[in-house]
């Protein structure tokens, strides 16, 4: 009859359920689990397995697409990360808002491997809260099979003939920076007038933009969905190393030079394990595996020794200092960030 069947089924389901829950909980109890929050495609995930087999610490890995997204998630609460990897200006902001745990450099012996030129930078003098990870630039990558001329200026992105053939970065500061630089302003401007001019320029540009791309920009370039893209240097590096008919241009008006460092958000559960992880990342061999996979420029002197010398001097990996003369680093805009937020909302909404 029907009744016994339903009862049996429900009991069975409940039993299975309880068993699954118990087994799930049991797994959680014995291990330390580190919650790591990083940019998409910004680590060789194999090294996470290596870390686990060496230390027994499991890594829960989550990704974000922009600094702002990461900041919002951590600020609002409800999620606990032990490690995060923001950029320079965001670290400056998080320090100002007391969102980071101090880092005990004595627990990170491999810190000695970090090149001195990346230590004690303006956003975190003394490296009290962050340890360098990767650095890079923002530029234009283009497919020489599809684009004949030499690209060297932000102006091309406002040129009608490239309509629907290029993408911008779906990131507030990076895209606004492009417009500010094209107009000759500082990317850290706090002038409403200059910001609005940049905003208008981007709104004017919108019909020409194929898409505001995120992590999928590499696929788009390779599949020729787009011929040209504004990208971070490492993405260009990965593409060019596989398909040598791409080129990466550092525009003459200047662009952004950035540094991403590892931080420990305040209230992290496993601060010691976090220090262990940072120390692990600073190892020369691990840094090499990481840099090789990710394509970005390392801050690690030991890693530099292991890298392919052909990468030195290239625009996308380790550009000559001379090329970066008019490059700026982002600063935290402080309260003025609201104006940036508003401008970005209006640019996207248009």
């Amino acid at each position: 009859m029907k009744k016994p069947t339903i009862k049996h089924f429900t009991t069975l389901a409940l039993v299975v359920l309880i068993m699954t829950l118990i087994s799930g909980c049991a797994k959680a109890d014995d291990q330390v689990v580190l919650n790591v929050y990083n940019w998409g495609d910004y680590i060789d995930e194999d090294i996470l397995d290596t870390f686990e087999s060496e230390t027994g610490i499991k890594v829960n890995y989550e990704t974000f697409a922009t600094n702002e997204e990461m900041y919002t998630k951590i600020k609002r609460g409800g999620t606990q990360y032990d490690i995060a990897i923001p950029s320079d200006y965001m670290i400056e902001k998080m320090i100002a808002e007391d969102m980071l745990e101090p880092i005990d450099l004595s627990k990170i012996p491999n810190y000695a491997n970090i090149d001195d030129q990346f230590k004690n930078l303006a956003f975190d003098p003394d490296n009290a809260y962050s340890v360098p990870y990767f650095w890079g630039t923002v530029g234009i990558i283009y497919n020489t099979h599809l684009i004949e001329e030499e690209i060297d200026s932000w102006d091309v992105l406002w040129d009608e003939k490239y309509k629907d053939r290029f993408t911008m970065i779906d990131s507030q500061r990076d895209s606004i920076m492009v417009a500010l630089k094209k107009l000759g302003y500082s990317m850290n401007t706090r002038s409403l007038e200059e910001l609005n001019a940049a905003k208008e320029a981007l709104i004017e540009q919108k019909p020409l933009v194929l898409a505001y791309a995120g992590d999928n920009v590499k696929d788009m370039l390779i599949s020729e969905e787009t011929a040209m893209a504004v990208v971070w240097s490492g993405e260009a590096s990965t593409v060019i190393q596989e398909y040598d008919y791409f080129k990466y241009a550092l525009p003459k008006e200047g662009s952004n030079k950035w540094f991403d460092n590892v931080v420990i958000p305040k209230g992290a559960e496993h601060v010691d394990a976090a220090h262990q992880f940072i120390d692990f990342l600073c190892r020369g061999d691990i840094g090499y595996l990481n840099a090789d996979y990710v394509g970005y420029a390392t801050c690690n002197t030991e890693t530099m020794k292991l890298l392919d010398p052909a990468l030195m001097g290239t625009t996308y990996a380790y550009p000559d200092k001379a090329l970066l003369e008019n490059f700026e680093v982002f600063l935290d805009p402080g309260d003025f960030v609201e104006a940036y937020d508003r401008a970005w909302t209006e640019i996207k909404a248009n």
Binding site: K2, K3, I6, T10, A13, L14, V16, L17, T20, L21, G24, V33, N35, G40, D41, N60, Y61, E62, T63, A65, R76, G77, G78, T79, Q80, G214, D215, N216, K218, D219, M220, S223
Partner: protein, 258 residues
């Protein structure tokens, strides 16, 4: 004659439209290349890498566990709620039913965002528990709406009659009411399960700390480009659904009632 062929052509066209994307996914899950540009040979490697992908497997686990839990708990709470609502006085009943309708009528986005606001305001840690609560919140109303009509179809005084004949209230409920409303309970439970398995928006806003469900996993991967593992996943899901529907078809008399 002509109209019969037009009808057949029309129906076929629509079904081709509905199935073309699924067929493409399935076909290219066996393609030995990342892009759908060309066919480069038959391979099962994407299935392999799918099962080795911790993120997807973990998400699948959470999806099923939450769906089962949400369905069971929502059905229990919803059934009892429907019972209580059925016997309410008119204005109170209308009021409660209107509130009940809110999660159904509200766009997922608003429900998700409002629940996230609640959890953060309460300083709760977003994760498994909050996602479960969120799922139950949008499932219970459907259970209530499934069971209520069956309660309405019952003769009005059957409960009193049973108790007059000496049954305890609980017995009366168990042996008289429940058999009458069982089809409603089952259909409510199934709706709850289906909604929970497929949910994206509400889960997206109310989960955290590494707990994700299948939809969230697919979204994160799709944002980064085309991943053939997703194709493999689609094939497996398609086969599972097909089998499930065939089973249900065999067992229920009127399939459409589902």
């Amino acid at each position: 004659m002509v109209s019969k062929w037009i009808k057949r052509l029309y129906t076929s066209c629509i079904f081709i439209f509905l199935y073309a994307p699924i067929v493409v996914l399935i076909a290219f899950s066996f393609n030995d290349a990342k892009t759908t540009a060309k066919w480069e040979g038959f391979t099962l490697k994407w299935y392999q890498s799918l099962f080795q992908n911790d993120y997807i497997m973990k998400s699948l686990y959470y999806t099923v566990v939450i769906a089962i839990l949400a369905a069971v708990l929502s059905t229990i709470i919803g059934t009892f709620a429907a019972f209580g609502i059925h016997y309410m006085k008119h204005w109170r009943q209308k009021f409660v039913l209107n509130i009940n309708a809110i999660p159904i009528l509200n766009p997922d986005l608003v429900t998700g965002v409002s629940l996230m606001t609640l959890f953060v305001w309460l300083n709760m840690s977003l994760g498994f528990f909050t996602m479960l609560i969120a799922h139950m919140t949008f499932c219970i109303p459907y259970v209530v709406l499934s069971v209520l009509p069956k309660l309405k179809q019952m003769p009005t005084d059957v409960l009193e009659a049973a108790m007059d004949l000496g049954a305890t209230p609980w017995d009366a409920f168990r042996k008289v009411i429940i058999p009458e409303i069982t089809p409603g309970i089952i259909s409510g439970a199934l709706i709850a399960f289906t909604l929970s398995i497929d949910d994206f928006v509400i889960s997206f806003f109310t989960t955290g700390n590494g707990v994700s469900n299948l939809s969230i996993a697919i979204y994160s991967m799709a944002k980064r480009g085309i991943k053939p593992e997703i194709n493999a996943l689609s094939t497996l899901m398609f086969i599972t659904i097909l089998i499930l529907l065939l089973i249900i078809n065999k067992r229920t008399s009127n399939f459409e009632e589902l």
